[in-house]
């Protein structure tokens, strides 16, 4: 199913956080949404899974505006892994996974054998079969993400939406998660902080800056040193990954004053607000260092 954002404007807490975003994900594509903190990635995703209604513009899945469809219908088409993970009263892992069957059921009744089989298969697929009977709240961050992905899988949707799915994950499971997602063949839209993860696993990326999509296309075309410099305020050297040949980006902090680099195009405060959070390929935190110091 195709995802279409058309001129989407999202307002949150009184101010506009997305200013007319237009972006399309073709069926079966894995799309990455990248951008600094506060650039509107999550807000744009929320307009797709019906948490924040756009002020104007449309969000369509399979050609139908998700805001004109019943919530349950949308939930059968779009499964979401949110960043929110609260449970004041603990449910067991299996209960959490079976919640993914909610859009397919109505009213009374227990879980059908098919529900349980789907849950078992999903848990096995994400490598969490042994967690089924554990309380969800007692899991580690990585285990929780596995379980939440399993829940999204039992929803049997054609579209998968992921908001920072690799946060708090070790490198091994980051790669495993992205591999699983790639193998699902679903139309996938993921907000990602890690540009290298996006470069390695996404068919297309869209870059958000201050609520506007400033570039979109295949990662190799979009994630250029200039764009990364402009949007993230860091120096980027794009290499070829020795194993896959896909873009591999090496980051270093911008020299605070350097004669051979152009003057910053936007205010300094925008630069300081967007270090990429810690992840294996991210730059070191901004720190006082000699202008010419190389980060690695």
């Amino acid at each position: 199913m195709r995802i279409d954002f058309t001129d989407v404007v999202v307002r949150r807490g009184g101010s506009r956080v997305v200013h007319g975003a237009t972006f399309r994900v073709e069926p079966g594509q894995v799309a990455g949404l990248v951008g600094p903190n506060g650039s509107g990635k999550s807000s744009l995703l929320r307009s797709l899974y019906r948490v924040t209604r756009p002020e104007s513009g449309t969000v369509a899945v399979g050609g139908q505006d998700v805001w004109t469809l019943p919530p349950r219908t949308v939930a059968r088409q779009v499964a979401v892994m949110t960043q929110e993970s609260t449970a004041d009263f603990d449910l067991d892992v299996l209960d959490i996974v079976l919640l993914g069957r909610l859009p397919h059921h109505r009213g009374f009744g227990g879980d059908s054998p098919r529900d349980l089989a789907l849950a078992d298969r999903a848990l096995a697929r994400v490598g969490a079969a042994d967690l089924a009977g554990r309380p969800f709240a007692g899991l580690s961050g990585g285990e929780k993400q596995r379980v939440l992905l399993a829940r999204a899988l039992v929803q049997e949707s054609q579209v998968l939406v992921l908001d920072e799915p690799t946060n708090h994950l070790d490198i091994s499971f980051q790669l495993e998660l992205m591999r699983i997602i790639g193998e699902l063949g679903l139309t996938t839209l993921a907000a990602l902080h890690d540009l290298n993860l996006a470069a390695a696993h996404c068919d297309v990326v869209a870059v958000l800056r201050a609520g506007r999509i400033v570039a979109q296309g295949p990662p190799a075309d979009v994630l250029t040193p200039d764009l990364i410099h402009d949007v993230f305020g860091v120096r980027a050297d794009v290499l070829a990954h020795p194993a896959s040949g896909r873009p591999l980006i090496a980051f270093s902090p911008l020299p605070s004053r350097s004669p051979d680099s152009p003057a910053p195009e936007h205010p300094v405060k925008e630069h300081t607000s967007c270090p990429v959070p810690s992840s294996p390929a991210s730059p070191p935190r901004e720190q006082p260092s000699p202008p010419s110091a190389s980060s690695r």
């Binding site: 019943p70 919530p71 929110e84 209960d95 919640l99």
Partner: protein, 343 residues
């Protein structure tokens, strides 16, 4: 399933024990016979004089109605508590969190102290129900902003309005004649002693309706536990569900409080106990909550009549004195971790 059967059998047993408990001498077997005799037409022992009219009256007109009311009130308050806890996602929520009991208190105490005429000729239970509805409606409207019912604002609005209404009740109580104070206290602490069969209809209907609604939405209630955004992504209309849950729980609470007074503790503690026993999945815990609440108050009522006989103590005192130590023991058990009590 085992828990349900055990609770159901315990409820039946309590019903019979209650029928055999009191000043008029009725054996357990005779109490059971009276109950069966009223339900099944044409049984021999109702005609052959083996049950005296006094025994029949004691069991069927005094003891049974109050035990049934205790059961209905316990089930209703426990269910309302469970729904409220899920709706506002707060383990401290209880049926009275939106000021329902404070509102009912104002209505009832106004009738007791100022007379029925002061509230347009309503009987005490009618005034109490109206007070409960008024308080709920006020909190609901105060907590709503831009069409969104925010749980925290709702709880705080309920607490604030509850204080305001309690102040009114306190003022009315302090300025009334001394002989009224006992009636006021009995209502505020809760009592089922004056129950009649006629009074059971409204709480029973409310309990049945809200039970059906809750069970039909048990999966959606589970989704609420994992957060508003996740629930929305699972196709649950969170805001609408939350509003309906709050209204359903408050109507049920109002219907119960109007006839039994502000019995405390049940609505907070029974849902947690049910979670500890069978887990937080509403498809399992709701029915255990309802049966457990009924059993708890029925037993509490039998105790309220017997421990200080012939004096009767308010049932709210029994629920707290018996329930609190049991609950304190329970939350220290390993299984309590399942109900989120490690945080």
């Amino acid at each position: 399933m085992g828990v349900h059967v055990a609770l159901f059998l315990a409820i039946l047993a309590t019903l019979v024990v209650s029928g055999a408990t009191g000043p008029a001498d009725v054996s357990t077997a005779d109490a059971a016979r009276v109950v069966v005799g009223h339900l099944v037409p044409d049984v021999s022992w109702m005609r052959d004089g083996s049950i005296t009219p006094l025994q029949d009256q004691a069991v069927w007109q005094f003891r049974l109605p109050r035990t049934l009311l205790a059961g209905l009130a316990g089930a209703g308050l426990a269910l309302a508590g469970a729904l409220m806890q899920a709706a506002v996602r707060n383990p401290l929520a209880e049926p009275y969190v939106l000021g329902v009991s404070a509102g009912a208190g104002v209505g009832a105490v106004a009738v007791i102290t100022l007379g029925s005429a002061a509230v347009g000729g309503l009987p005490l239970s009618g005034a109490a129900f109206l007070g409960a509805l008024g308080a709920t409606a006020a909190v609901y409207l105060l907590a709503r902003q831009h069409g969104v019912l925010a749980p925290t604002r709702m709880i705080l609005a309920g607490v604030a309005l509850g204080s305001l209404l309690s102040a009114v009740t306190s003022y009315l109580t302090l300025t009334t004649e001394a002989q009224n104070v006992f009636s006021v206290l009995f209502f505020l602490l809760g009592s089922v002693s004056a129950a009649t069969m006629d009074q059971l209809a409204v709480p029973a209907a409310a309990l049945a309706a809200v039970t059906l609604y809750a069970l039909a939405n048990a999966r959606a209630l589970n989704a609420l536990l994992v957060g508003d955004e996740n629930a929305t992504a699972l196709g649950v209309g969170v805001n609408r569900l939350r509003g309906r849950l709050v209204i359903a729980a408050s109507l049920l609470t109002g219907a119960v409080v109007a006839v039994s007074g502000g019995i405390g503790f049940v609505g907070l503690v029974v849902p947690h106990t049910a979670r500890i026993l069978v887990g937080a999945d509403h498809r399992r815990m709701l029915t255990v909550t309802i049966l457990g609440g009924a059993l708890f108050l029925m037993v509490a009522d039998v105790l309220a009549r017997t421990v200080a006989a012939p004096t009767e103590i308010p049932i709210g005192i029994v629920t707290a004195v018996v329930g609190a130590p049991c609950f304190l023991w329970l939350i220290r058990q390993g299984r309590a971790a399942r109900a989120g009590m490690l945080r």
